[in-house]
């Protein structure tokens, strides 16, 4: 696929959750009619309140959920296909790991699943461990890790197979100021190397510092896409845009 292909292409994407209990089916809306395109090399942020559909959108992009309508393509391949997955590195909101394995063992496991050749795997693991500053602690069992250390290993596994697109779900949640700064530097560095970054966040200040464009989700709908030029150089402007978009989105939803 050439450089002209969008990194992420979403068209008319909807997801309705159906839950049945004792014969009664309950439905709830995850996302509704999202259409969006993220270009290669772009840093795109997805802002929204809790339950607005950020994680649902990400799961649909990764093939963890199947859409009710519409479709998602990653570098021209259907979301969830092996070709699309090969191009994506995913950082989940909460680090989920095997407590009985060490950091290095976990990375080797994910490296093998990602198809990294056996000869190259050890060198690549040490490279990403150095990038996230975890070389010294990589031999310890993961149940002994602090939250910050878990977050670093999670980031390492996402970068391991050198993906073209990084999908980060709330990457700065729960980080201390130092961790926050390191994460920002890493995201910036990855983008400098040509990686496309797609991330969801509650933190408007972080999104403001990192993104070229921002999408605002309100009640499962993409209410607005904002370009960097609309907030650049004007402190607090993105927050104003976000608050007014959410307020008018809620008004529309209730009316």
């Amino acid at each position: 696929m050439g450089d002209h292909v969008a990194a992420i292409s979403i068209e008319g994407l909807s997801k309705t959750y159906r839950r049945s209990h004792l014969g009664r089916v309950k439905t709830s809306l995850g996302v509704d009619g999202i259409t969006l395109s993220v270009q290669q090399g772009e840093v795109f942020g997805l802002l929204g309140l809790n339950g607005s559909g950020k994680t649902t959108t990400i799961k649909l992009m990764l093939g963890l959920l199947f859409p009710t309508a519409g479709h998602v393509q990653v570098f021209g391949f259907p979301a969830g296909s092996p070709e699309a997955k090969r191009a994506v590195g995913f950082l989940p909101e909460i680090p989920y790991f095997y407590k009985y394995l060490s950091g290095r063992e976990v990375l080797r496991f994910y490296g093998r699943l990602s198809g990294i050749p056996e000869k190259a795997i050890s060198a690549r693991i040490e490279e990403v461990l150095a990038q996230v500053r975890m070389t010294a602690n990589a031999g310890r069992a993961m149940r002994e890790y602090s939250k910050g250390m878990l977050q670093r290993i999670t980031l390492a596994q996402a970068m391991l197979h050198d993906p073209r697109l990084m999908v980060l779900d709330e990457p700065v949640t729960g980080l201390d100021p130092l961790g926050l700064r390191e994460m920002r530097e890493i995201i910036h560095g990855l983008n400098q190397k040509g990686k496309t970054i797609f991330f969801s966040s509650h933190s408007i200040s972080e999104v403001e510092k990192l993104c070229h464009r921002v999408g605002i989700l309100v009640s499962g709908r993409l209410a607005r896409v904002v370009n960097q030029s609309e907030w650049a150089g004007e402190h607090g402007r993105l927050e104003e845009i976000f608050v007014s978009t959410v307020a008018s989105g809620h008004q529309k939803a209730f009316s």
Binding site: G63, K85, Y96
Partner: protein
């Protein structure tokens, strides 16, 4: 293939480092050792009692490791969401099911092998003369555990909670030994009950086919029932794995 082996390897490692797994194996060894006490009470049948008690202990603890392993590994992996980081890798979902099954089978096989080595050491200490029929019963026991591992994996993917999956796996294991009795009762209860009984028994694993240790001493017992049992176990396991793979491919996370 490499990703299947990677999942199998890490399943084994996870099980091996799990304290619960080690406690179950240790407890099994203690019970095998306790067969010496029961043997002492059995007078001239001492060796026979140690032999039977040891085999039953290894099977039950093998089953416990298989059921709890399948349920905790798969259901907990979904609950703890570690599955996200596996399914976002470029591997087909059925490979995950197969890798988990092979790793679990290896872990259960290792625990049963340790128990049986200990068991046979005790028997040799008591002057047991090796009986080829008993050694023929061991692989059949292994096949029974293979069937139950695949079935527990299927239960863990069918039911959303770990306790439900465990209860159904154990229920299938118990009922699987009573296929003939279920058929007999259904037969006497009327035409519809007969059809329902037949259908139910066709779905249930026929574990009595694999119970070679109960019948291997009978006169005229040959190789044919063993081969039939082995073929049945393989087919039943493959059917469970195929269903698990189909279910897992449609599952959302």
């Amino acid at each position: 293939m490499r990703s299947i082996l990677a999942i199998a390897r890490y399943t084994f490692l996870q099980q091996f480092r799990n304290r619960l797994y080690l406690v179950v194996v240790l407890f099994g060894l203690l019970l095998v050792a306790a067969s010496l006490l029961f043997g002492a009470l059995a007078g001239d049948q001492e060796v026979r009692v140690i032999l039977d008690f040891g085999l039953v202990t290894a099977e039950i603890f093998g089953l416990a490791t298989a059921v709890f392993g399948a349920v905790t590994l798969v259901v907990e992996e979904m609950e703890s969401k570690t599955i996200y980081l596996i399914l976002t890798r470029p591997l087909p979902r059925p490979f995950y099911v197969l890798g988990r099954f092979l790793g679990l089978l290896l872990a259960v096989g290792a625990s049963m092998a340790v128990m049986e080595v200990f068991h046979f050491s005790l028997l040799f200490m008591k002057g047991w003369t090796p009986d080829p029929a008993v050694f023929a019963a061991l692989p059949m026991m292994g096949l029974k555990i293979m069937v139950m591992t695949a079935l527990s994996l299927l239960c863990s993917l069918t039911f959303t909670s770990a306790p439900t999956a465990t209860v159904f796996s154990i229920l299938f294991w118990v009922l699987g030994h009573f296929g003939n009795e279920i058929r007999f009762m259904a037969d006497r209860a009327g035409q519809w009950a007969k059809v329902a009984g037949e259908l139910f028994c066709a779905v249930l694993p026929n574990l009595s086919l694999l119970n070679a240790r109960d019948v291997i001493d009978l006169p005229g017992f040959g190789l044919t029932p063993l081969l039939y049992g082995a073929g049945y176990a393989l087919l039943y396991t493959l059917a469970c794995l195929a269903l698990s793979a189909a279910l897992f491919s449609k599952k959302e996370f």
